[in-house]
Point group: C2
Chain length 356, copies 2
């Protein structure tokens, strides 16, 4: 709590090299999904909000109720701009919630939606967003059961923020969990990475490319169902959001205490995303997706899961991108096109604020 903004003082242990004490105020990087976010959650939030469920740090909490298992999740959406190619803050809020539930093998049931509106927001824009949220919820067969609206004075918020909470029922026996990755598991990504983040960045920066980048924002409930319908054991399933593919894999490697090895040339990245990333100096590995997931499955089942994913509209370009090793536990290593190997670290800076 005292002074200093150093980036690497002391150590708070595993996956948490920056002690909270190194910052006296919130920085944009605390929202990046990288190192600072991780540190903030572990050092400031968890100690005060301790409980058996929250400390598992899954996309959705699993609780037992009336002999059924409920999945519960929450997210706030602060994306800027609120409209972007391929979606808007309303559809994004629904997709994000649906996906967090789907990663736990939960069928979505109920959604809450709460709006923080800035004085002066155009009523047309608000209606467009609410309509989009409503129709996305309907498509995903999740019922909006509770809603709230607050208004703050001009300048006290940026247009609008949405918070959602989602409740689903877990219908599979043995849901994936972040600590279930095992040596030998094969890692499958459901499609091209980085589209959402680059769509937002291009819209925000006014970057005009030859081919417009559209967000991949999509509900992944059906893709997840296709995966579970194989009846095979799925060790980990995670949607790629803030911090992109890299951050998701690092979290899974840390939770499972295993190593992850990626083949750079097998990771699907669209040419236009590569081009935009180069212009903006970004690494696609860290760029957010909102319609992609990674699955960790035993090697013998990988082909079958891959085919199941490719048979779904949102998994058409699914690809095997790496494997789980016993070496370097908690770390992700990338084998580059030219054969080099590099350690993929958590995002340390303020790379991509307000992407979701």
């Amino acid at each position: 709590m005292t002074g200093g903004n150093g980036d690497s003082t002391g150590s708070a242990g595993y996956g948490c090299p920056l002690p909270r004490a190194s910052f006296s105020a919130i920085r944009l990087g605390h929202g990046s999904g990288g190192k600072l976010t991780n540190q903030l959650i572990r050092d400031l939030f968890l100690p005060h909000l301790s409980g058996p469920t929250l400390s598992r740090l899954e996309d959705a909490a699993e609780v037992e109720f009336a002999r059924e298992r409920l999945a519960i999740t929450t997210d706030s959406y602060v994306v800027s701009p609120i409209f972007f190619p391929g979606g808007d803050i309303g559809s994004l809020a629904v997709h994000g919630t649906i996906n967090d539930l789907a990663m736990k093998g939960a069928r979505p049931l109920y959604l809450t939606a709460s709006f923080i509106l800035e004085e002066g927001l155009s009523m047309d824009d608000l209606e467009r967003v609410v309509k989009s949220l409503g129709s996305s919820a309907e498509e995903c067969a999740i019922e909006v059961v509770a809603c709230d609206t607050k208004v703050v004075n001009k300048g006290a918020a940026d247009k609008m923020f949405i918070n959602t909470a989602g409740i689903g029922v877990i219908e599979i026996e043995d849901p994936p969990a972040s600590d279930r990755a095992r040596e030998g598991d094969v890692i499958i990504v459901s499609g091209e990475i980085g589209l959402h983040g680059m769509a937002i960045m291009c819209a925000r920066e006014g970057l005009e490319l030859e081919a417009e980048i559209e967000s991949d924002s999509a509900p992944l409930y059906e893709l997840a169902a296709a995966i579970f319908d194989t009846g095979l054991e799925i060790h980990c399933l995670r949607d790629l959001t803030r911090g992109g593919l890299a951050s998701a894999l690092i979290e899974l490697a840390e939770s499972s205490k295993v190593g992850v090895e990626l083949d750079e040339e097998r990771i699907p990245v669209a040419e236009r995303v590569k081009a935009a990333c180069e212009i903006l100096g970004l690494d696609p590995l860290y760029v957010a997706c909102e319609g992609r997931l990674v699955a960790f499955v035993p090697e013998n089942d990988a082909e079958e899961v891959l085919i199941a994913m490719q048979g779904n509209g949102n998994g058409g370009r699914a690809a095997i991108i790496g494997k789980v090793t016993a070496e370097h536990p908690g770390k992700v290593v990338l084998r580059s096109r030219i054969g080099g190997r590099r350690h993929v670290d958590r995002l340390s800076g303020d790379q991509l604020p307000r992407i979701c």
Copy 2:
């Protein structure tokens, strides 16, 4: 959607005299809990988020799951300042959620908490709020199961906003509902009104009174349990938040299609609240509470419910303040100290922004 900012053009029917079309942009009054809020919800939100549950517009939604009844609620908290006499945005968020559940006769089970933080927010302030939220949740025996943090750039939010969703299980047979008020019902308020709103306004405006006003923010689960434990039929139960006692009673009168008659001199208002309201030109009837409720009960049961309420720490100053009539359905009428009668209308302006 087209032009104009007129305050009384046309009519959208019952309880909704201002058509959405009269505003092209969000105003602070849309968050006041009064006329504009009501209009925004009915004209813009409900048409796009239609569903059997949401359209009941209760404090908490009731859904059936695994042959049990769940209560689900959500609220965003944008109170300014974030620390105030008697509480802070963290404790307020817990109490507000607990109270929405309690009003449906639900036992609180699970809480989600999502934080929107402004770049530059002091880490000390954040920790103080998270600690307060955590300890309030613990006191109320509700488990924080899911959490989220977003950071926005400086100037894109005002310090911090919190969103919560709450899930509880409804354990009473016949929960109160806003449409269950009946002619002859007696109206009981659980204590002095206006403390929360005036605590906030004094803190915000730097108003120094002889006696400091502390917020009444408190969890009402035990008070509600004491009421239900009488085994008597409770027609309506509502906590008084945005828009105060007046707005809550108007909503109940409208939903139940009954009239409400209040005795001004029986409504408990602390002298220091009266004094502050006079200075700021406010009517205590519309000032938010965060630890008060009103109960509508059949006349013959009123005394017993009143005694049960007075036996609880949060109901010590409970008082009978009025009754339900068949006359003037949908309207609230106040009998003043000197015998006059006046119609209590919905709040029409931007009276008290960011009170919760």
